[in-house]
Structures are given as structure tokens and as C-alpha cells.
Symmetry: C3
């Protein structure tokens, strides 16, 4: 090989390597969008175990809900840590499993999506709303933003922590501040 060809080949290898990293990031962005979409599917299609399995073993839900809202769900906590706690959250008979919501609500998650990907860790910010139907009327039962702490485990993006704030709540306007630029 001539020196010139060697240089061209080396340059091309470097270009392709950098390009592959950019494609990987775009694929990660798409997979994270999918993950948030499935968050809605699992919740709305009554697949509780599928919902739990979107979380890491130490996954957590951290919602800035009021004491009153927590009390109405029969809990005094706004944080559910670990898969068993996540299961408690999604099967709460006064919460997601209530007659008003279970099989009768849709979680539109992942709009206004911004993802920050750093290897096997990622932060995703997004907006979401839950719509419930009753007597032919559709109501936005909740709206809020979420900061999703994500981790890739065995090649699959999972939720390490959902930090959610409800529109109207004190923490809403600062909940996405902690997100990397």
C-alpha cells in the first residue's frame, strides 16, 4: 500500500468510527422514545408485570404529589423504591387499579421529549398527560412533566427513576432544571 492510500484508509476508518457512534446515539434516542411509549402501553393495557419490568431492580417512582393525594391512594409516601414497591404502586386498588382508571385511561407519555445520552446512562425529559373515559366523556385527569433517569441493562434501556411533577404543583416549574444541558 502506498503512503497516500494508507492515510486515506486510516482517515476513513476514523470517520466511520465517529459516524457509528452518532448512529448509536440516534438509535438510543429512538429506543428511549419506545420505552416511554411502552410505559403507557403497559399501564393502559393492564399489564402490571410488564410495567414493573420496565424498571431496573432498584428502580423507583418519585412523584411530587401532595399529602392529600397520597392519602387518597392509601399511602403516606410519594416514593416507591425497588420492583416490589413499583408493583405496589401500579396495583394500588385506590390508584391505578381503581375502577375509574384501570382499562379506562391512556397515558400519553414522551411528548416534548429531550434525551441526554451518555454511554449506558441517560436522562430523558418529557411531558405527559393521562386521559380517562367515563360515560363517553374524555377528561385529562392529570398532566405533568417527568425527568426519567435511565440505564441500559443487558442491552435494554430501563427506568432507574421516574421523577414526576404534576402541573400546578410547586415542583413542576423546577423539575426539569436538574437535566443536563
Amino acid at each position: 500500500m502506498t503512503d497516500d492510500a494508507d492515510t486515506r484508509l486510516a482517515e476513513l476508518e476514523a470517520t466511520v468510527s465517529a459516524l457509528a457512534a452518532r448512529v448509536q446515539e440516534l438509535e438510543d434516542d429512538r429506543e428511549i422514545r419506545d420505552l416511554l411509549a411502552r410505559y403507557g402501553y403497559m399501564a393502559d393495557n393492564c399489564d402490571d408485570e410488564g410495567f414493573v419490568n420496565l424498571y431496573t431492580e432498584d428502580g423507583a417512582i418519585n412523584l411530587s404529589i401532595s399529602k392529600e393525594a397520597a392519602a387518597s391512594m392509601g399511602t403516606d409516601a410519594a416514593v416507591w423504591s425497588g420492583k416490589d414497591a413499583v408493583r405496589d404502586f401500579i396495583t394500588n386498588p385506590n390508584g391505578h387499579h381503581s375502577a375509574q382508571l384501570y382499562g379506562k385511561s391512556m397515558h400519553f407519555h414522551g411528548t416534548n421529549l429531550v434525551t441526554h445520552i451518555d454511554g449506558d446512562e441517560a436522562v430523558a425529559d418529557s411531558y405527559g398527560m393521562a386521559v380517562a373515559t367515563a360515560d363517553g366523556e374524555n377528561t385529562i385527569v392529570s398532566a405533568g412533566n417527568n425527568q426519567w433517569q435511565l440505564r441500559r441493562v443487558d442491552g435494554r434501556w430501563l427506568i432507574r427513576e421516574r421523577r414526576g411533577a404534576t402541573l400546578g404543583d410547586d415542583k413542576f416549574t423546577t423539575n426539569l432544571d436538574a437535566t443536563p444541558e
Copy 2:
């Protein structure tokens, strides 16, 4: 060319070929998102023929609507097959062309989007809601999920079948089950 350079070149060709396939899939994903966006545009901007042309020649709309809902549209079917039937659907004076909806509604399609692409065939799952305005008030007149069976024809993604289920309907919680993992 030395053996070493030949090996490096062959490896790079294989890497670039695989990378091109991944980029193609990301482009397909984007084009499918565009298609579902335009589904809303055509419906909401009163472009009936544009709407029809988003479907393949044998394209179909398959909605899990109740007999009552079908009757209110002056039809006893929940399936519209072929472009003529799709045209009947979108120009139905008791449906989309009603005074309450035509030019006064928006179809937010393509949220919670997950695409499964396999060559020139694809399945896309998504959430959607229709918002109508009347007397300055905006109402969610319907919400549901859709499983879109898509096909690439002459380089353009088209709808082969829209399988829609309305929130609250029996089929809603299973409508996305048939989707590939």
C-alpha cells in the same frame, strides 16, 4: 495492495454496509412518523383526496366501534376496504364531514410511537386523540390506540390497514398485543 490493507478495506466495507442499513431504518422510522403526522393534516385540513392517497390501493380502516356508533354514522360496518371505501369513510356527512368536526377538529396521531420495520413492511403502534372546538371550548372527542400495518410502495410508506380501538372499548387493551416485540 498488501494483505493487511485488503483486510482493512474489506472490514470497512462491511462496517459501512451495516451502518447504512441502520441509517435506513432510522430514516424509515422518521418517514413513518411523518406519515402519521400527515394523516392528521389531511383529515384536519379538509384534504379528503390527500387522506385517501395515504392508503395503498387495497388499504383499509378497521375500527372497533360499537354498533351504536356505526349506526350514528349511517353505516353498519366498522371496516372500510379499498380506496373507494376509505373515501366513503372520510367524506361521511354524519362522520368526519359533520359540521361539528369538519375543519374544527385536530387528530393528534403518532404519540407513544413504536415502529417495527422489516424491509418494505412495517407495523407502527401509536396513541391518538381527536380534539374538536366549539364555542371556544376544546373537547377530546375521542382517544384510542392504533396498530398501523404499513407498506412501502414506490419508495413511499403507505397505510395498508389502520386497526383502531377506542379508549373504553373492549378491544382497546388487546389492540397492540399482535405487534411484534
Copy 3:
């Protein structure tokens, strides 16, 4: 280098160059989605200066609002040109800064997104809705489409003009017509 290797190397260089342009476009598409997401964040998180800085120096907001709606905001214009005017728009005490909206509303922008990218210029079409909360009830206070004229400045996509039309308004059904195919 043999002629054969030279040909292969030149072909590969051309392929990689074309691939890089396609990846760049996908990255631009993602950055534009981010920009519209942040449009909501800045508005909803009460970051007025952050909102202003999403616009170019000559950036403009052009809304097809009625004279009545304009009058209720204490203005007779539906166009705000330049950063100072954009600041006036977002800090209007009878508009975005009203007690009903400021810190109590969410702008779901960037659904039904279609982007047209041409170098450092782009047009993005999208749907949006604003949801406000009051007394525990969430209402869609406005819904509409937007044609966003965008420009890349110093490597960052900014808004050159937001052309918005409200659902129910005369211009709604034609607002996206000017968009490239």
C-alpha cells in the same frame, strides 16, 4: 495501491460521505424536535429569557388570532418581530403572565411533527395544545398548528418565525400548505 483497491477506496469514501449527510439530517431532525420541546419548557417553567433566546435576533411570532383575542391581550397586533417584541409577548400580563396561565399551563408542542431541512434553514410543521390547570381540573385552553421557520445560527437551531393558527380559525386549514412537500 492497485487500481482495484483505489477504486474500492474511492467508492467507499463517497458512500461514507453520503451516509454522513444522512446522519446529519437525522441529527438535525432530532435537534428540531428538542427545540420545540424546549419551547414548551421555557414557557411553562417561567423562564422568559430562555424563551426569548430560542429566537433569532430578528425572530418573530405571527399568530392568526382574532381582533377580539388580541384586544384581550391589550394589543392590536398579531405579529411580534424581533427579540424585544418576543419578550413583550411572553411577559404580557394579560397573556402568558396572567394568573390563569403562568406556572399553571403546559404547552404540548411538536406532536404531528414533520421537518424539512435544507442546510442551515428548516421548516417544521407541528401540532400543539396548551393545557391549563385550575381547581384540580385540566382544560385544553388552546389547540392549533404551527409552521416554524427555523435557522441554524452558530451551530444551534433557532426560531426565525413561528406562524401559528388556532383550531377553529379561518387560517387553520391552510397554515401548513406553504410547507415544502
